[in-house]
């Protein structure tokens, strides 16, 4: 059990960070679909910067900044120019994917000795990590693990327990109403888009910094798309996202364990498990599976049509 949790928690982190980023943009009404690209970009930038500067922290921040820049483009193009969110997102997905590989090629090129960065050390929390059994399970991880959880809590608090959160959610539920009450919808959406994308970038940077110490093109392996599914699974709420990510990562770890234990089922079917299980869970998820009313819809003050 302890080992199971210790495996699940880090596996959750990229999902949690990227999905909370998606939720952050989405609750303000910006439906980002470029996660897969932004995660690859975050991984590449985070890795390259860490490598050249020698500091993982700087790498994480630059990855966040670069992904945030993409979020800014998404935000401006969709709120100020009212371009279709889906198309802009896909275009940014392409651009980010291309840019990531290009940067790596320019910086590293072809070599048989790829550069390596030290992966994040685990950072046992004083006192808490000494709690027998539980301490090892929950309080002996790298800093980004704690960050992901603390951030989820903060996001929840911000959205539901502050006045700014009230305004923020209004932009995704009914921007016209928010606007008519003096809430700056465009600015809120742009800021949400930037911060959300930055989180997705950090999620990407997590992969080289924790799992591998090196960057490879395919390392995100579709997780960016799964994150979108996760946002829906979590009903676009930070607290359920955490649960959804735990479920998803848990299923993944269980599936691998089943294979190692040699259950005799072809591994392809075992590897399907997380996806199938999520679909099954969703069948009963109508209770919480809501989404922001104006998710993905641009707001034009002077237009009489709904959007």
């Amino acid at each position: 059990m302890a080992e199971f949790v210790a495996l699940v928690l880090p596996a959750m982190v990229p999902f949690v960070l990227a999905a909370q980023g998606t939720v952050l943009s989405g609750r303000a009404g910006v439906f980002n679909v470029s996660q897969e690209g932004l995660m690859v970009l975050g991984a590449a930038v985070g890795f390259l910067v860490s490598y050249s500067v020698g500091s993982n922290a700087v790498g994480v921040f630059v990855a966040a900044a670069v992904a945030g820049l993409f979020g800014l483009i998404l935000g401006v193009m969709t709120t100020n120019w009212r371009l279709d969110q889906f198309i802009v997102g896909l275009a940014l997905y392409f651009a980010a994917l291309g840019l990531a590989s290009l940067l790596y090629r320019v910086a590293v090129g072809t070599t048989l000795e790829p550069p390596l960065i030290p992966t994040l050390e685990s950072y046992p929390i004083p006192l808490l990590s000494k709690i027998p059994y539980l301490g090892e399970m929950f309080f002996d991880h790298d800093l980004l693990v704690y960050t992901a959880f603390v951030l989820s809590g903060l996001l929840f608090w911000f959205m539901y327990r502050t006045n700014a959160g009230l305004r923020f959610r209004a932009c995704g539920e009914n921007p016209r109403s928010a606007d008519s009450l003096g809430v700056n919808v465009a600015r809120t959406r742009i800021v949400a888009s930037v911060l959300g994308a930055a989180l997705v970038g950090v999620a990407g940077a997590y992969l080289p910094m924790v799992y591998t110490g090196t960057f490879t093109e395919g390392m995100v392996a579709g997780r960016g798309w799964l994150v979108i599914a996760l946002a829906f699974l979590g009903g676009w709420r930070p607290q359920y996202i955490l649960a959804g990510a735990a479920f998803f990562a848990g299923m993944e770890v269980l599936a691998l364990r089943a294979q190692v234990a040699g259950v005799g089922i072809p591994h392809q079917f075992v590897l399907m498990l997380p996806y199938v299980a999520t679909l099954v869970v969703m069948m009963f998820a109508f209770r919480w599976a809501r989404q922001p009313r104006f998710l993905g819809q641009n707001y034009d003050r002077e237009s009489r049509l709904a959007g």
Binding site: E173, R176, N184, L305
Partner: protein, 533 residues
């Protein structure tokens, strides 16, 4: 007369939407402590002018002064800061928020930024609502509230921000007569407390009842500003329509104007006209028995209704919104599955059949919510007119829809129904409310219905459009159609119905024959007075 500066002065306001010049040097002046009526036909530019004032639209030219100082209003925030509040034609509320949350949204709150503490605002809301007679539950989720209450929430939103000028854009369209009176009472309180109120309405009767002065707009311009004491309903109607009414009185104008002077007059005017229709024949063309229907929340909203209608008969259903009208209309239109009961249309019980079979049985439904239930906004007028009859053989050639034919028919409908649209290929979403209603009516009548269900068919329409609807209804009844008219406009019901029933809490509670309607009794019956629970 008023020696001090006006509360509000809008001058030379111009606003264009592409080719449409919505405001053409419009003017408006509102005095302090005044209820100012803003009148005009559909599309006259009333809402646009107010949206400019509220910072939702940016004017192409013109100036705005408040209390004598020129202000620049570029966003609703500027308007709120300038003391302007607006209750929009359609509610702008976050459905999933509570009343208090909706009201405080966008304002600064006492207490630290990291904690949302709504206890003070809650009390303030409670205080405001009792002071102005706008009763709401501060903790209710707004989507669960009836329209009348949501209306109050909209007003409270403005009051909470401490307005000097409150704009009410057609606030009465959603209210029952009683609620209208309450609203007007609240407005008086506001004026007494120093506010100015701008009231937009199509009902001359209401302006005459509530306003101190009124401005009439037409084609984006001010036509006149008159004091109430210096005018009367007929004169106002004349200004609005842009012609003298002497050469003939449209029914709608009679309803809109006559009532003002004396409630009894309308009935007289209408009754004095010879009977509009022969007596209903074949009573039993439509029969409903024991209808029970649940609403979206699973609550029984229609509780055992029965009725019988003849060919060519108009049955009016009067009631306060939220007493099961929507569920009733949807159930006998075949849109909502009833729990139990029967609906015979010309002898066939259609309950349990899919909606398209009801359509095939010539049941036509003009829903109350025309944007939500009536129109396909991103599709063309021609396509909107085809909706519901896309499988009928008149517009199909070899199994395919013949769009040439459909457009031809749409062009005809545009002509006969005077739809102001840029041809059959115009997008329905670009049309004005009145014109959208015309499209919906054209579609309904094209079915040559045997049962026509009209729910608030003239809400928000101007005199001309209203008159037009009445003419179409008469034409349909002359062709033998039974019409079920659900309306919150009692005058309209009295003028049109052969028989009037009142609905309360999902049941019919009173019935009057044409000519024998006692409006006071109807009003009481609608309010549930004398009904045992």
């Amino acid at each position: 007369m008023s020696q001090s500066a006006p509360r509000l002065a809008m001058r030379g306001i111009v606003k264009e939407f592409g080719p449409v010049r919505a405001l053409d040097h419009a003017e408006l002046e509102v005095a302090p402590r005044e209820i100012h009526g803003l009148l005009g036909g559909n599309g006259a530019g009333k809402t646009t002018l107010m949206n400019v004032l509220y910072g939702l639209y940016r004017a192409d030219a013109g100036s705005i002064a408040i209390d004598g100082t020129e202000v620049s209003i570029a966003s609703p925030k500027d308007a709120i800061d300038a003391g302007v509040g607006m209750v929009h034609q359609s509610f702008l509320q976050i459905d999933s928020y509570t009343v208090t949350e909706n009201i405080v949204l966008g304002t600064k709150l006492p207490g630290p930024a990291w904690r949302l503490d709504l206890s003070d605002p809650r009390e303030q809301v409670a205080e405001l609502s009792s002071r102005f007679g706008l009763h709401v539950d501060p903790d209710a989720i707004v989507e669960d509230l009836p329209v009348g209450v949501r209306q109050r929430v909209e007003i409270l939103k403005a009051l909470y921000r401490g307005v000097g000028t409150l704009i009410l854009d057609e606030p009465t369209t959603n209210l029952t007569p009683g609620e209208v009176d309450e609203l007007f009472g609240s407005m008086r309180t506001m004026v007494d407390e120093g506010l100015s109120v701008i009231l937009i309405t199509h009902k001359i009767r209401e302006t005459m009842a509530a306003c101190d002065r009124m401005t009439v707009m037409r084609d984006g311009q001010r036509i006149a500003t008159v004091r109430r004491e210096e005018t009367d309903a007929e004169a106002l109607a004349g200004i609005m329509v842009g012609r003298d009414l002497d050469d003939g009185v449209p029914e709608a104008a009679v309803i809109a104007t006559g009532v003002v002077e004396d409630v009894e007059d309308v009935a007289e005017v209408v009754e004095s006209a010879e009977p509009l229709r022969p007596d209903p024949v074949d009573s039993g063309a439509v029969r409903v028995e024991g209808l029970r229907v649940r609403n979206d929340h699973g609550v029984e909203a229609v509780r055992g209704l029965s009725l019988s209608m003849g060919r060519g008969e108009i049955l009016g259903v009067a009631g306060v919104a939220g007493n099961g009208q929507v569920e009733f209309a949807e159930a006998i239109a075949g849109v909502r599955q009833p729990e139990t009961g029967h609906v015979w249309i010309r002898g066939t019980d259609l309950v349990g059949r899919p909606t398209r079979e009801w359509l095939a049985a010539k049941v036509a439904y003009v829903p109350e919510d025309r944007d939500g239930d009536g129109v396909l906004p991103t599709m063309t007028v021609a396509e909107n007119l085809v909706l519901g009859s896309q499988r009928s053989s008149d517009i199909r050639r070899a199994g395919l829809i013949d769009w040439k034919e459909a457009r031809q028919k749409a062009a005809e409908a545009i002509a006969t129904y005077s739809i102001r649209a840029n041809g059959p290929n115009a997008l329905a979403g670009d049309l004005s409310g009145g014109n959208i209603q015309r499209v919906i009516l054209a579609r309904a009548f094209a079915h040559e219905p045997s049962l026509l269900i009209l729910h608030n068919p003239t809400r928000g329409l101007d005199l001309r459009s209203t008159q037009f609807v009445y003419e179409q209804v008469h034409a349909a009844t002359a062709a033998g159609c039974s019409v079920l008219l659900l309306s919150e406009d009692l005058d309209e019901l009295v003028a049109l119905s052969d028989r009037l029933v009142t609905i309360y809490n999902g049941e019919f509670v009173g019935e009057w024959a044409r000519g024998a309607v006692d409006q006071v009794a109807v009003g009481q019956s609608m309010a549930g007075v004398g009904v045992e629970r």
